[in-house]
Amino acid sequence: MSAAPSPALPALSVEGLRVAYGDVEVVRGVDLVVRPGEKVGVVGESGCGKSTVALALMGLLAAGGSVTGGAVTVSGSRVDYHDERALDRMRGSQLSLVFQDPLTSLDPVKSIGSQIAEALRRHSPRMSRAAVRARCAELLTAVGVPEPERRLRQYPHEFSGGMRQRALIAVAVANDPAVLIADEPTTALDVTTQAQVVDLLDSLVDGLGVAVVLVTHDIGLVSEFCDRVLVMYAGRVVEEVPSDVLFGGAAHPYTRALLESLPVPGRPRGEDLAWIPGAPPPLSALPPGCSFAPRCAWAQPECSVGTPPRVVVSEPSVAALGTALHTAECRRALEVPRG
């Protein structure tokens, strides 16, 4: 494990991140601070910009996309998204990525071993062959793949979905990164396999002190796995809330509406689920004022004018050491009934 950074220094700090594809701004000023060993969730529905944030942080936006604003700092050093060589040095060593679909995230014609080794060699070019091999086996063991020596020689098609995701996690933690960005890491997996993989991520956070940014559409998953949750809508973080108060105490009308649409265990059967009328606005033609206002049950005329204020819903308690700030970007955040 790398030298433990001082607790005051965040592993990842993002201020006002903006991303555009052509003329359309798809991420419109996102702030995010992750401390070492912390697990932060980013949730939202398709098209809200959550996956774009993940790729933008890695500097791996698809062709046509670019970071148009904001400052990103990893372990205290500022990231320059125009310096490709510096980005290459950062990727995999300080920031690493676990990607959505384990079936398509591994090169089908290279052995598992060579794909893990690639990550090691890139950042430790002088490592001997034997050392690389030994380390690869060690990594596979660490992510819970049995018989690592044999498994290293195998190819992705010889691995099950859950095992592939474990191998990808091994790739991601190979160089002890400060932050692991996991973009829908369990969405393609069965629920029992998902439970195993989440358990593995949890143990890696405990063991390595790596910080995790979990990007997902699954509110149940973030609220269980993460310490803090950021809810995104139309390219903005509309609410930032500690997980333990998410279900009882969400303040933004969008978050509340999302939660009410969930068939959570224990909700009386026969009771109809609520849903949000309409559809998210196209990012190329956002409504004036709050983007959610046209669908919001709490909207007032002034919601369609000007940027909604960021309201502090509850100050962090002393015990939480400043990690549990709860804010919502809504004029009426304190009026929406909670709990």
Partner: protein, 348 residues
């Protein structure tokens, strides 16, 4: 997950299936070539004896050639003769067809192999640069490969001769056969002058043979090269979009290294099978280019055979082409099976 117990028998089954396929293809090709040539008008016996021979003589020749036998018997003889390399005698000049083809095959093979090399190397370089750099370069590559696909081979050959050949700028020799006339062919080992020249330690022969090869091989390589370029460009574009490329980049691997190691590798695999067919088509499809460049290969024999309704020659050529196609195809499949881990026989 691996299933070691089933992989061996599955591989055997796959091999047996492939073999059956090869045999069926060859059988079909032999039937077609046999039937088609029997169906076209013209009596080979009459061609041999000439228009003035008496019916008795004609009948004698017919019997001698087996033309009076029932068709199925003729077909069996034809198969037997082909398999034992007794491809008969030319109906028009009595030459041993096997010997004629054997003498001329190396020239055609050498031309085809070099053309194949030009086509593959050209296609890999152009397609990789185009899909890596994108933009204007990709556009130019696309237009050029489209034009390449649509341009008649003999026209390209003629333009090359007129511009670069001895009648134009004189940069390269041609159309004048395989070697400058004052040079002796190298000692026969493979029959390929470039290879034999190197083996015999005669660099002058090698370079002269290569210079003579250049224009015909380029003419021949143009269309398959354009085809492979388009195929490889499309494959690389597909692979480049795959999530695993993003994952490779997320390890810190540079874009070029990721492209070379992962995108190109994955794009080449599905092109291998096509490359086998391209090689076969180069060997059997050099007739026009051989004519333009006065190249002493089997193409010219075929042209003469067709003109003279020379069954023995044409038949041998058609069946040989079928064998070459099947062999190239099977070889390509075998190579794919060897290098693609998803198809490779698991030894574990």
């Amino acid at each position: 997950m691996s299933r070691p117990t089933s992989s061996t028998s599955a591989a055997l089954k796959r091999g047996a299936g492939a073999l059956l396929g090869v045999l069926a293809t060859l059988l079909l090709a032999s039937v077609v070539s046999f039937v088609v040539l029997r169906a076209v008008p013209g009596d080979p016996a009459r061609l041999i004896v000439g228009p003035l021979a008496t019916p008795d003589v004609l009948a004698g020749v017919r019997t001698q050639l087996g033309l009076d036998d029932p068709l199925w018997l003729q077909y069996l003889h034809y198969l037997r003769d082909f398999a034992t390399l007794q491809w008969g005698y030319s109906y028009s000049n009595g030459a041993d067809v096997t010997a004629v083809i054997a003498a001329r095959l190396p020239a055609t093979l050498e031309l085809a192999l070099w053309a194949f090399l030009f086509a593959v190397v050209g296609a890999v370089v152009v397609a990789t640069l185009a899909s890596y750099r994108g933009g204007a370069l990709a556009g130019v590559a696309k237009v050029v490969s489209l034009v390449g696909l649509g341009t008649p081979q003999f026209w390209v050959a003629l333009v090359l001769v007129l511009v670069l050949g001895s009648s134009g700028l004189g940069v390269l020799p041609g159309p004048s056969g395989r070697l400058t006339s004052f040079l002796e062919p190298p000692p026969h080992v493979t029959g390929l002058y470039t290879v034999d020249g190197l083996l015999a330690g005669q660099p002058i022969v090698f370079s002269d043979a290569l210079a003579h090869l250049a224009l015909p091989a380029i003419s021949l390589a143009l269309i398959p090269g354009a085809f492979l370029t388009r195929l490889l460009t499309a494959n690389q574009a597909d692979v480049a979009r795959a999530p695993f490329v993003t994952v490779v980049r997320s390890k810190g691997v540079s874009r070029w290294a990721a492209h070379r190691r992962h995108v190109l590798h994955n794009a080449l695999l599905p092109s291998l099978a096509s490359a086998g067919l391209v090689l076969a088509s180069l060997i059997t499809g050099s007739v026009l280019v051989e004519s333009v460049f006065n190249w002493p290969g089997i193409g010219q024999v075929l042209v003469q055979g067709v003109q003279r309704q020379d069954f023995a020659v044409v038949q041998a050529f058609v069946l040989l082409s079928a064998v070459l196609y099947v062999a190239a195809n099977t070889a390509a499949d075998a190579v794919v099976a060897l290098v693609d881990p998803r198809l490779r026989v698991s030894t574990r």
